[in-house]
């Protein structure tokens, strides 16, 4: 029997397996940020051991960083201490660190791909659940806890039970105004926020193949939002073209050798998956969420479900969620008042996202009552946006391009949506209080965010196309 893409990569990284227990998995690339690493470094200190393979770990601060005045010391004392601690720990343990103001600093899941650190066939981990982003390159990438961060630092390995494999195939052409974000919000709305738990998901089909690398990253990024360990897409010419010439990508003969290997990374025709799902791309509309988990999404032209249509066991949680959002069950999404728009994050903070947003608002004006934060995913994205004049287009339309970081996606810095107000956000989570205590988040694509920023209410981007 043939192997799945996941099997091929996983199997080639098993150091040993405990009988009836977890696999000891070798990790090729370890990304580190300031929030989930200090306790792991403290563990090494206590044990009196060094980092086993420091050259396989790369660090950058992203969660806590402000998105204005990054040249100044961070105002928030605790944030500053955590960011400084990362610099200190990485220096002490000999780990490459792209600190604040370094031209390569940014959200870990944005800089990994753009620097060519992320490559097909690798195992990649980070103390962050959106590590699944890197699966877009045909790597096995997933988020881990801090104890596991310590394991990787100490031994370059972690211990994991083998997940099951699921394939989600999406064939056909996407409709106008429908983008990668809508695909993944659609899938999660179909299988729920827990429907992928226990699985690693391979995304396949022509609609996935036709996505750019950045679109594929958006899809893989949100795998965790259906509970999946990670998501991945077989590498192809689009992947190889993206990688070629990047800072850490292989060069010369090494490139040829790696390329030959990368071309073997696909699920064999006779490979069997534990679960298979298929959707038609043409059924997907621009999507938006109405509740407090990413599975609570509908087509933007749709309505919030009626309570009667919700599974009886889930009704109490559904009602709690709708109440938190201040919505009525059964009401339409179009036209709901929005106060904030956030474009950014590891889901949609890359250059194509900024281009899409800027292209949409060019020559138009932001609705006066809308506060908008446009936050690039990295310094390199910021630089490129400026080179392309995106900052000027945004400024003319009443928007400001801020400095890179995770920002309002989880509101660890000062970018917080006030209590009770509504934000249309290109991020990945609409949990209670995610964007600030009491904030209400509606997840959507950069196009929907742009249309909404212009009108100040939930708006179908196709009205402008």
């Amino acid at each position: 029997m043939g192997k799945t893409l996941f099997d091929k990569i996983w199997d080639s990284h098993i150091v040993t397996q405990i009988e009836g227990g977890p696999c000891v998995v070798y990790i090729d690339k370890h990304l580190v940020h300031e929030v989930t690493s200090p306790q792991a470094f403290a563990g090494l200190d206590r044990r009196g051991i060094k980092v086993f393979r420091p050259e396989h770990t790369i660090a950058t601060p992203d969660h806590n960083v402000p998105t204005v005045n990054q040249h100044l010391p961070i105002q928030d004392q605790l944030s500053r201490m955590q960011v400084n601690k990362l610099a200190e720990n990485t220096k002490n343990y000999g780990i490459k660190h792209y600190g604040l103001n370094h031209p390569y600093q940014g959200i870990v899941h944005v800089i990994g791909p753009e620097l060519g650190l992320t490559q097909p066939g690798m195992t990649i981990v980070c103390g962050d659940s959106h590590t699944s982003t890197h699966g877009a390159f045909g790597s096995v990438a997933f988020g881990i806890g801090t104890s596991e961060v310590e394991m990787v630092l100490a031994t370059q390995c972690i211990m994991q039970l083998r997940p099951k494999c699921m394939r989600i195939t999406i064939d056909g052409d996407l409709k106008k105004g429908v983008v990668a974000k809508d695909i993944i919000l659609y899938i999660i709305s179909k299988i729920s926020a827990s429907g992928g738990t226990g699985y690693f998901v391979e995304y396949a089909g022509s609609a996935i193949r036709n996505l750019s690398m950045e679109g594929r990253m958006t899809v893989c990024n949100m795998s965790i939002e259906m509970g999946a360990r990670g998501g991945l897409i077989a590498p192809d010419e689009v992947t190889f073209a993206y990688l070629k010439g990047r800072e850490y990508a292989p060069k010369g003969k090494d490139w040829d050798k790696k390329l030959a290997y990368w071309k073997t990374l696909y699920s064999d025709k006779d490979a069997e998956f534990d679960r298979e799902l298929t959707y038609n791309a043409s059924d997907i509309e621009p999507m938006i969420t109405y509740g407090t988990n990413p599975g609570m999404g509908v087509a933007i032209t749709g309505r919030i479900p009626d309570i009667d249509s919700v599974d009886e066991s889930a009704r109490a949680s559904f009602s709690k969620s709708i109440k938190y959002m201040g919505f009525e069950a059964g009401s339409p999404m179009i036209g709901k008042e929005v106060n904030y728009v956030f474009v950014g994050s590891c889901t949609n903070g890359r250059i194509e996202d900024l281009r899409a947003f800027a292209g949409f608002v060019k020559g138009k004006k932001r609705a006066k009552h809308v506060v908008a934060w446009i936050v690039p995913g990295s310094r390199q994205v910021e630089k490129q946006a400026k080179e392309e004049g995106i900052d000027k287009i945004l400024a003319e339309a009443g928007f400001e391009l801020r400095q890179p970081g995770c920002s309002a996606c989880l509101a660890m810095n000062d970018d917080k949506v006030p209590e009770g107000l509504y934000a249309v956000s290109t991020t990945n989570r609409n949990f209670e209080g995610r964007q600030g205590p009491g904030s209400r988040t509606l997840l959507a694509s950069p196009l929907t965010a742009a249309a909404t920023a212009l009108t100040g209410k939930v708006t179908d981007p196709r009205e402008f196309l």
Partner: protein, 199 residues
């Protein structure tokens, strides 16, 4: 280094019959700025526990004096979302030793096990019985025997066996730590590295 051992536990329960309790609710991102593992219990379920004026919200179960104990009973998909291990630390620091649910998110489950916090996954039917027993009598005690992989509601006599990976079970019973194990096989890791074609 070791984790705290777990063998058996007899305790009252704290019921939280909500689905999809994500780790942002367990411990909000704004409390993740600490650089140690201690003290997160204070802010466990912060925004469900306290209002803006930092006054306890009476309706929330942790503020209800009728309920106490070392066992938290949650709804489906407990611990979803962010990989933050701080969620497991916060629950443990608050005093919970066990979380019962009919479905756990993957990363949370791993993090809990790595910190001596036992996730007990029961059937949906048993979970309903458990919520009902606690609702009928908040002083209902539950006994968890990790060796036998059994959870029992003492007042009703209802019991169920639960699954746990045998390796993880050994670790919890003996207080073993994965890192100690991995450090002990570093020669195997080096041997593995030497065999790799693609690196």
């Amino acid at each position: 280094m070791a984790i705290n051992k777990f063998t058996t536990l007899r305790s009252r329960c704290v019921p939280l019959p909500v689905e999809n309790v994500d780790t942002d609710q367990i411990i909000s991102a704004r409390f993740l700025k600490a650089t140690t593992r201690e003290g997160f219990g204070e802010n466990l379920f912060r925004d469900w526990r306290y209002n803006k004026q930092n006054q306890p919200i009476k309706e929330f179960v942790l503020n209800n004096p009728a309920y106490s104990g070392k066992i938290l009973v949650g709804g489906k998909n407990f611990g979803s979302g962010s990989s933050r291990e701080h969620a497991a630390w916060a629950l443990y620091d608050y005093g919970f030793k066990v979380v019962v649910s009919n479905f756990f998110a993957d990363i949370f489950k791993n993090n809990a096990l790595n910190n001596g916090l036992l996730p007990v996954q029961v059937s949906s039917g048993f979970l309903i019985k458990l919520f009902k027993a606690i609702d009928t009598d908040p002083e209902t005690e539950v006994e968890i025997d990790l060796g036998k992989q059994r959870i029992a509601i003492l007042s009703t006599g209802e019991a169920e066996e639960f699954d746990i990976n045998p390796y993880k079970k050994e670790c919890l019973i003996n207080g073993y730590d994965d890192i100690d194990y991995l450090l002990s096989i570093r020669d195997k890791v080096e041997a593995f590295e030497a065999t790799r074609e693609h690196e």
